[in-house]
C-alpha cells in the first residue's frame, strides 16, 4: 500500500470538507448580499466601543 493512497484520501477529504463549508455558506444566505458586509466591516471599531457602554445599560432594564 503506497503512501499516495493516504495522501489522496486526505486531499479528497479536505477538498470535500471545503466544498461542504461552501454549500453551508450559500445556504445561510452569505451570497445573497455581497455589498453590505463590505461596508459593515468598516464599522467594527465604533460598534465595539458603543456596545460595551450599551451592554451595561441594557442589563439594568
Amino acid at each position: 500500500m503506497s503512501v499516495i493512497y493516504i495522501v489522496l484520501t486526505v486531499s479528497v477529504i479536505v477538498g470535500v470538507g471545503f466544498f461542504i463549508v461552501f454549500l453551508l455558506a450559500v445556504k445561510s444566505g452569505q451570497y445573497d448580499d455581497s455589498y453590505t458586509p463590505s461596508v459593515r466591516v468598516l464599522f467594527e471599531d465604533e460598534l465595539v466601543k458603543d456596545k460595551t457602554k450599551q451592554s451595561i445599560k441594557s442589563k439594568t432594564d
Binding site: 479528497v12 450559500v26 453590505t36 459593515r40 464599522f43 458603543d50 457602554k53
Partner: protein, 791 residues
C-alpha cells in the same frame, strides 16, 4: 444672512434655522431625530457621512393597521411567542450611515435583538420580541428617525418568495470539480511513461470520472433540459450543440478510461461547464434594488381607515373595501378606490398615475379616482367601486400583463446556432465517412472529436459577457436595464413612442406666460405676497415663477375655495383666480390652465400655464428622426399641440386624449404591422403601453421612487442621451458578431486536429479555455471602449 444647511438632512435651512447644540436644523423633525441619536450615543451616524438623514414624516395614525393580527401575519416571515422577524423595505437607505444606524436599532429599542441591512435590496431584517414590543412600534421607531418603511399591498402575499440560489450551487459544484480535475489530469499532459504515473493513472482517471458525474448530471442539467425543449419545439437553439458536446465528452471519456484507451477529456468537460455557468452568472446579475415588475399593488396601501356608521374608525384591508363604505384618507395617503369626496378639501396629486405633478383641487361631491395621493389634511370619501374594479386598476386585467416578452423572440445566439449545428453535424458526418473508407478504426474517434471541439462554448459566452458588461456600463450612466435580452430587443427598435406629461415635460417646473395689461410695481409686489399666503397648487407654482419681491404684510386676505383669492394692501386690491371670479372674459375652448388677475376691479390680464419640457428634448428628437418613427401619445388635451409642433421635428405624430387602454391598443396595432416599438413613459397610466411594447422604458426623476413595470428605468436627466444608448445597443450586436467570427477561427483550428484524427486531450484542454477566455477579453474590452464613448 448666510444660508446654512441642515446638520441632519442637508437641506437648506432657509432664513430661520433652528439652532440646537451649535448646529442648525431645517425643521423640528430633523432636530428631534438628532436629539434621539445624541441621547443614545448614536451621533457616530453623522461622522460616517455628512448630513445623511431625511426629514421624518407625519405618521400619526398611519400605521394603525399594524395592530391587526392577520396583517402582521402576512408581513412577518417568522412568528413565535418570543421572537418575530420581519423584513422591511426602506427606500431612504443610501449610505454607510444608514447601515450603521439601522443595525444599531437595539440601542433605541432594547427589545429589538437584531437588525440586518441588505444595502442592495434596501431592506432591513428586524428580529424583535413580540411580548415586549410590536411590529407597529418598530415601524414607528423607524419612521421617527427618518427611515420610514414602505409597506404596500404588494407585501400582502401569502407566499414568501424563495431566493433561488441554484445557479450558485451549480457554479460551486462545477468550480470544485474543475479545479480538482485539472490537478489530477495535469501529470498526464506531459506523458513521459514515467513508472509511478503509469502505476497510478488509472486511479487518477476514476477520481476524475467521479468528480465529473455531478458536473454533468447536476451543474449542466439546464443545458440538457433547454436542448430537449428546443428540439421538442423543432428549434436548434444554442443549447443543442452544447448538450451534444457535453454528452459526447462524457461518454467518450468514460469509454476511454474504461477500456484503457486514453485519459479522457474530463478536464475540458469540467472547464466547459464551469465557463458556461460563469457566463450565465454574469448575465443574471442585475439590480437588486430596482424592481421592474411593479403593478398597482406596489403603490397601494395595505389597509385603510374605514368610518363605521356609528362614527368609530376601524382599519380594514384594502381588498375588503365594499361599494358604499366611508373611508378616511389622511395627509400623504393614497386613495385606493374610485369614490366621491364627502368631507374635507382634496388636493390630490396624481403624479403616480399620469406623471402630472400639479395637484388637483377637489371639493365635496367631486369624483376622485384611485391612485391619487391626498396632500392636504384629512378627507372622507365614499367608495364607488371595489379596488379591482377601479378605473386605474382595471387596466391590469389585460392579458398583456401575463405575457413574457422573451417568448417568441429569437436571440442572436440562437439564430446563429441553427446554422452552426447543421454545419458541425455535416462536417462530422463527412469526415467520419472519409475515415470509414480509409481507416475504420479511427472513424468513431474522429466523429466524437469533431463534436467535442465544435462545442460552441465561445459562442455561448459572447452574448452574456457583451450584454452583461454593457448592462453594468449603462447602470453607471443611470440607465438601468432589466436583463440582457432587453439590450438585444433595443437594437431592433424602429418606432419610438413617448408619453408627454412627466416624460418629456419636467415634473418640477412649469412655465407661465402673462398676457394682458402690464402690472405696475406695487401690483406685482402685492401679487407675489398674496400668492405667498395661498396653498393652492397654482398659487404655489406661480409664486415660484415670479421674481423675488420684498415681504409685506397684507391688510386683508381672503381665499374662496374653487374660485380665487382676494387681497388688499394700502390702495391696491387684487383679485386672483378663475375668469368668473375675477371678472374676465371666459374663453370658450380654453385648453390650458389660466389664472386671471384684476386690480381694483379693473381686469388686468391672465397667466397661462404651459408645460416645461426637459432640456435637450428637441435635440434628441432631431437626432432620432433620421432612424426612427416618432410618436407622442398623451393622455392630456390638445392644449400643447402648437407648442410641441414648434419644438419637435415635423414628421412626429402627435396624438392626444389617450386613455391608458388606448395607448396599449395603439402600440399593439403598430406591432401587428411589423413595427418594433419602444415606449418611453412614466406613470401608471403608461403601464399597459410599457408592457405591450417591445421595450418599455420608464423615466424617473428619482430611481428610488417607484416606477411602473417596465424593461428599463432611465434617469430623467439622461433622457437626452437616449439616442446614444440606442446606438450602443446596436454596436453591442456588432461586437457579438465579431466575437462569433473570432470563435469560428478557433473552431477551424480545432476541427483541423479533430478531422485528421489527432485530437489529444491536451490540445482540447488548451483550445477550449483559450477560446473562451479570449472571447471574454475581446467582448469586455470592446464594450468598455463603447462605454467610454458613451460618456
Amino acid at each position: 444672512m448666510k444660508d446654512s444647511t441642515c446638520f441632519h438632512c442637508g437641506d437648506k435651512c432657509g432664513e430661520n434655522p433652528i439652532r440646537f447644540q451649535e448646529k442648525s436644523f431645517c425643521c423640528n423633525g430633523c432636530k428631534t431625530v438628532f436629539e434621539i441619536f445624541s441621547e443614545n450615543d448614536l451621533t457616530c451616524y453623522y461622522d460616517l457621512q455628512n448630513a445623511p438623514g431625511s426629514v421624518p414624516k407625519e405618521i400619526e395614525g398611519k400605521y394603525d393597521f399594524l395592530s391587526q393580527d392577520n396583517i402582521v401575519d402576512k408581513l412577518t416571515e417568522f412568528r413565535s411567542e418570543s421572537v418575530e422577524i420581519a423584513t422591511l423595505y426602506i427606500p431612504h437607505i443610501h449610505c454607510s450611515s444608514c447601515i450603521w444606524i439601522l443595525e444599531n436599532l437595539n440601542k433605541l429599542n432594547p427589545n429589538i435583538s437584531d437588525s440586518i441591512v441588505n444595502f442592495g435590496k434596501k431592506t432591513v431584517r428586524v428580529t424583535y420580541d413580540p411580548a415586549k414590543t410590536s411590529l407597529k412600534e418598530v415601524v414607528l421607531l423607524l419612521s421617527s428617525i427618518g427611515y420610514e418603511p414602505y409597506i404596500s399591498l404588494d407585501d400582502f402575499k401569502s407566499v414568501q418568495k424563495q431566493v433561488n440560489r441554484s445557479l450558485i450551487y451549480k457554479l460551486g459544484v462545477a468550480g470544485f470539480g474543475f479545479g480538482n480535475i485539472m490537478f489530477l489530469s495535469f501529470p498526464e499532459y506531459f506523458e513521459v511513461n514515467e513508472f509511478w504515473l503509469e502505476q497510478y493513472k488509472h486511479m487518477f482517471r476514476w477520481i476524475m470520472f467521479a468528480l465529473s458525474v455531478p458536473i454533468v448530471f447536476y451543474s449542466a442539467q439546464d443545458y440538457f433540459v433547454s436542448a430537449y425543449k428546443g428540439l421538442k419545439a423543432r428549434l436548434l437553439n444554442i443549447d443543442v450543440p452544447i448538450a451534444l458536446g457535453i454528452s459526447v465528452l462524457f461518454i467518450r471519456s468514460t469509454a476511454e478510461i474504461a477500456f484503457d484507451l486514453g485519459s479522457g477529456f474530463f478536464d475540458s468537460l469540467a472547464g466547459l461547464v464551469f465557463f458556461l455557468l460563469v457566463g450565465k452568472f454574469f448575465q443574471q446579475k442585475t439590480y437588486a434594488f430596482l424592481s421592474f415588475e411593479r403593478d398597482y399593488k406596489s403603490y397601494f396601501p395595505i389597509a385603510i381607515t374605514k368610518i363605521n356608521k356609528d362614527g368609530s374608525e376601524e382599519s380594514i384591508q384594502v381588498y375588503d373595501i365594499k361599494k358604499g363604505d366611508r373611508l378616511l384618507i389622511r395627509n400623504e395617503e393614497l386613495i385606493p378606490v374610485d369614490g366621491v369626496l364627502i368631507n374635507g378639501r382634496g388636493k390630490i396629486d396624481y403624479s403616480f398615475v399620469t406623471g402630472e405633478s400639479q395637484a388637483v383641487t377637489k371639493k365635496s361631491g367631486d369624483k376622485v379616482f384611485a391612485g391619487g395621493k391626498q396632500t392636504n389634511g384629512i378627507i372622507e370619501l365614499e367608495a364607488l367601486k371595489s379596488v379591482e374594479q377601479s378605473y386605474l386598476t382595471q387596466l391590469w386585467s389585460n392579458d398583456v400583463f401575463n405575457k413574457e416578452k422573451d417568448e417568441g423572440f429569437t436571440n442572436i445566439t440562437n439564430a446563429i446556432s441553427k446554422h452552426f449545428t447543421l454545419i458541425v453535424l455535416g462536417i462530422a458526418l463527412v469526415s467520419t465517412t472519409y475515415w470509414l473508407l480509409t481507416d475504420a478504426s479511427k472513424a468513431m474517434n474522429v466523429f466524437t472529436a469533431v463534436l467535442i471541439i465544435a462545442c460552441p462554448c465561445a459562442i455561448a459566452l459572447s452574448a452574456p459577457f457583451t450584454f452583461g458588461n454593457l448592462l453594468r456600463i449603462f447602470g453607471k450612466l443611470k440607465f438601468y436595464i432589466k436583463n440582457a435580452s432587453v439590450i438585444e430587443r433595443l437594437a431592433h427598435i424602429n418606432t419610438i413612442v413617448f408619453d408627454k406629461t412627466g416624460t418629456l415635460t419636467s415634473n418640477k417646473k412649469s412655465q407661465a406666460v402673462y398676457d394682458g395689461e402690464e402690472l405696475n410695481t406695487t401690483e406685482a409686489l402685492v401679487l407675489k405676497n398674496t400668492l405667498r399666503g395661498s396653498n393652492h397648487p397654482l398659487s404655489r407654482t406661480l409664486y415660484d415663477i415670479l421674481e423675488e419681491h420684498d415681504i409685506i404684510t397684507l391688510d386683508t386676505f381672503e381665499e374662496y375655495v374653487g374660485k380665487g383669492i382676494e387681497a388688499k394692501h394700502n390702495n391696491t386690491a387684487l383679485k386672483i383666480g378663475s375668469a368668473d371670479f375675477v371678472g374676465g372674459e371666459r374663453e370658450q375652448n380654453a385648453l390650458n390652465t389660466t389664472v386671471h388677475i384684476s386690480s381694483n376691479n379693473n381686469y388686468k390680464g391672465k397667466y397661462t400655464f404651459y408645460n416645461s419640457y426637459r432640456k435637450g428634448v428637441a435635440k434628441l428628437f432631431n437626432t432620432l428622426k433620421n432612424h426612427f418613427d416618432l410618436v407622442i401619445l398623451s393622455g392630456d388635451n390638445e392644449g400643447e399641440r402648437n407648442n410641441l409642433k414648434k419644438l419637435l421635428p415635423g414628421k412626429t405624430k402627435l396624438i392626444f386624449n389617450q386613455k391608458p387602454e388606448d395607448k396599449l391598443d395603439y402600440i399593439q396595432y403598430h406591432q401587428s404591422e411589423g413595427a418594433k416599438v419602444l415606449m418611453v413613459g412614466d406613470g401608471l397610466n403608461d403601464a399597459g403601453a410599457l408592457a405591450q411594447s417591445d421595450v418599455g422604458i420608464a423615466i424617473s426623476e428619482d430611481i428610488n421612487v417607484f416606477s411602473p413595470a417596465c424593461d428599463a428605468i432611465l434617469d430623467a436627466s439622461k433622457l437626452k442621451y437616449l439616442d446614444r444608448y440606442l446606438g450602443a445597443a446596436k454596436t453591442a450586436i456588432k461586437i457579438i458578431k465579431w466575437s462569433f467570427a473570432l470563435s469560428f477561427i478557433y473552431n477551424v483550428v480545432g476541427l483541423y486536429f479533430a478531422v485528421t484524427g489527432q485530437l489529444a486531450p491536451v490540445i482540447a484542454a488548451i483550445l477550449m479555455p483559450l477560446s473562451s477566455i479570449s472571447i471574454v477579453i475581446f467582448t469586455t474590452v470592446c464594450t468598455n471602449i463603447l462605454g467610454r464613448r458613451l460618456k
